[in-house]
């Protein structure tokens, strides 16, 4: 500031060429950088979204072609017809997310703080499942949980299946085609999406903060409660979102590991689109699902108070 102030004021000469052309071009740079992303989003997100929105208010059939008639009634109809699947989807997704957190947090903690030189190997192992297709992996679980298989056998011997049967999570001697199987599949499939953000936020915590907490009379457990866990909250929030959002719309697990009684909303949408060919109903269901997930997520983020965190 002083430097510019000290400079003698430039004479407002008439002969001055192009008055400062650089700043204008500079101001446009961010927009040019945004352009590819924005174009991509418009073509592959906004356009399909608008198309689906229009589909959801159409009536007709595949033979007589669909026409936009602003038939909003569809929304109410599908909601009434399929609300159990909606609720089930949210419940399964929530349980799977919670299980992912319970299983994933200790693992991420171990990798971040205790793994030493094995850290990279463990991280590769976490993402190793991605080298196989989602479908193949879920099919493999079908074999693992198959009737009379070793898992069912072992759980039976331990009388675990009796307990879960009473709770309504399994039925009789079966594991496959039960809610437990679907939730297990969801948990397995989305676990890496929980571990990776948790690991990232834990790994950033300075080890000296643990020492400082210990030095200030915190037991290891208190150090975890008052320092480690609060500081890992951004990872917890992004991990739970990355797990909850895709699992609430998932249909592969429900389809392959579940039964008609464990149908999730994803399976309903899929069959409406591809089997029943009722496009308006399928589109309306998709929009309702989107709205519900958006609502749940924004409520959750507000409650978690992530804006308070760092």
């Amino acid at each position: 500031m002083t430097a510019t102030a000290a400079r003698p004021a430039a004479p407002p000469a008439a002969g001055e060429p192009k008055p400062r052309p650089a700043p204008r071009r500079k101001r446009l740079v961010p927009y040019w950088l945004l352009l590819p992303g924005i174009l991509w989003l418009i073509i592959f997100f906004v356009v399909p979204l608008v198309y689906q929105a229009s589909t959801s208010v159409q009536t007709g059939s595949l033979e007589n072609s669909f026409r936009v008639t602003w038939h909003v009634q569809t929304y109410w109809d599908v909601l009434q017809q399929y609300y159990p699947q909606f609720l089930r989807s949210l419940l399964y997704a929530a349980v799977a997310t919670l299980l992912c957190l319970v299983v994933g947090y200790p693992l991420a903690y171990l990798i971040a703080f205790r793994a030493g030189r094995h850290r990279n190997i463990l991280l590769v192992l976490v993402i190793a499942p991605f080298f196989t297709s989602f479908l193949i992996r879920t099919l493999a679980w079908k074999t693992i949980l198959a009737d009379g298989g070793p898992v069912v056998h072992a759980l039976n011997a331990l009388h675990v299946l009796d307990l879960t049967d009473v709770l309504g999570w399994t039925s009789g001697d079966r594991l496959l085609a039960t809610p437990l199987a679907v939730v297990t599949g969801l948990t397995y499939n989305f676990l890496p999406f929980m571990i990776l953000p948790l690991y990232t936020s834990l790994e950033r915590i300075d080890h000296r903060l643990h020492e400082a907490a210990g030095d200030l009379y915190a037991t290891p457990w208190t150090t975890f409660r008052k320092v480690t866990f609060p500081m890992s909250l951004p990872g917890v929030v992004s991990g739970t979102l990355l797990t909850f959002i895709p699992s609430s719309g998932d249909y592969v697990n429900a389809q392959l590991l579940g039964s008609a009684d464990t149908k999730m909303i994803g399976s309903v949408i899929q069959s409406q689109f591809l089997t029943v060919l009722d496009y308006p109903a399928a589109a309306a269901l998709s929009f309702i699902l989107m709205a519900v997930v958006l609502f749940v997520v924004s409520y959750y983020i507000r409650r978690a108070g992530t804006e308070e965190l760092l």
Partner: protein
């Protein structure tokens, strides 16, 4: 937990008995005996890697000693985890909790000990470090010096028996560092807690500490008050690490009561007090004679006659001078030592004292000290910050 961490009137000295630390085959700290009297400001001084931080961490409980015992007062705390020791640490990087505000950072230790009403204490402590207005800020909103004061407040509020400071001023710029040195000294005098301060900055140690332990390669080279260490170093490492010393290789000619006469290169005879010689004084033995640069007076060779009797005299020729404001530093070639350093206050400057001028260096023999000649003459040189 509340009991073990209880404060009460600070109880006793810190005593390290035969404490050592090995990492694999590397000996970070050699078996060490050290007593820090209660209420003193004690500095562990040394270059990086000398084992001073490891020693501090063993007192804090953050490092398990390989051998030896740590006593706080009469209590053996060697096997106590950090959260059960009545000591607190100010970490080098401060290690403030980024998710808590300043108030909660300072209150952390009190809350862990189950103290409910912390408001008054925290307020007083923040006032002591002059941060009362910043209670609700987050650490990253403060400057380095303010963060440093929060770290001190967070540790001191627990009224520990001992406060450990691990290079707490290392991250600050020079001016702020000077200011914080005085601040820390003021706080220590005010609260009367034992401070153990780890630093590689000899000026910092001398400014603040009552007692300094100079460490080198896992050992304590010498222990004493700043004045004692400076005036009477017992090893070449201490002589060079604390300030600058001219070390002259000499041979002992003989003793005369309390005095010792030695001869340096070129047949130059020097005298020194016998009790300031930390090595054998038998005639014919070798001894390194040391003299601090500011104790030497520089006189032009033409005026050599005016030099009083009884002073150590060395002839030489000025090789280099550098003017640094309050003083001028000379490098003088002489038969006893090729590069004697001399610092002269700029009171009356003799215009003849320019490079190439023949001079006589002279000083009071009382200021001379003697060191064992079996040591590396340049040990510790250039290691001080």
């Amino acid at each position: 937990m509340t009991e073990t961490a209880s404060t009460g009137p600070a109880g006793g000295d810190v005593r390290l008995a035969g404490i050592s630390k090995k990492y694999g085959s590397f000996r970070a700290v050699e078996p060490l005996d050290l007593t820090v009297p209660q209420g003193t400001f004690f500095a562990l001084l040394g270059a990086s890697g000398c084992g001073k931080t490891t020693t501090l961490r063993m007192i804090a409980g953050l490092e398990d000693p390989t051998t030896g015992t740590v006593f706080l007062g009469d209590r053996d705390v060697t096997d106590l985890p950090p959260h059960k020791r009545p000591v607190n640490t100010v970490f080098q990087s401060y290690a403030l909790f980024p998710h808590l505000d300043i108030f909660e950072n300072v209150a952390f230790g009190l809350r862990r000990r189950g103290i409910k009403s912390v408001k008054k204490q925290v307020g007083e402590m923040l006032d002591l470090v002059q941060l009362g207005d910043h209670a609700r800020r987050k650490p990253q909103q403060l400057s380095g010096g303010q963060q440093q004061r929060v770290a001190v407040a967070r540790a001191l509020i627990n009224r520990p028996q001992v406060l450990l400071l691990d290079e707490p001023l290392g991250a600050l710029d020079l001016k702020l560092r000077r200011q914080m040195q005085l601040e820390l000294k003021r706080i220590q005098t005010e609260v009367g807690v034992t401070f153990i301060h780890v630093t590689h900055d000899q000026e910092e140690a001398m400014t603040m500490a009552d007692t300094i332990a100079v460490m080198n390669a896992g050992r304590v080279e010498q222990l004493g008050s700043p004045g004692e260490l400076y005036e009477n170093p017992r090893t070449t490492f201490v002589a060079n690490f604390l300030g600058t010393s001219n070390l002259i290789e000499t041979e002992i000619l003989g003793t005369d009561g309390a005095g010792l006469t030695v001869s340096g290169g070129g047949g130059c005879k020097l005298m020194l007090p016998r009790d300031r010689c930390s090595t054998g004084t038998a005639a014919g033995g070798k001894v390194l004679v040391g003299i601090r640069p500011e104790k030497i007076t520089l006189t032009h060779a033409d005026d050599a006659g005016a030099i009083p009797e009884g002073r150590n005299r060395v002839p030489g020729r000025i090789a280099d001078t550098s003017f640094i404001g309050v003083s001028t530093q000379y490098v003088v070639h002489s038969p006893v030592c090729p590069d004697l350093a001399v610092y002269a206050q700029n009171i009356e400057r003799d215009a003849r004292l320019v490079p190439g001028a023949d001079v006589v260096l002279h000083w009071n023999p009382e200021h001379t000290f003697g060191l064992g000649a079996d040591q590396d003459r340049s040990a510790g040189e250039g290691e001080a910050a």
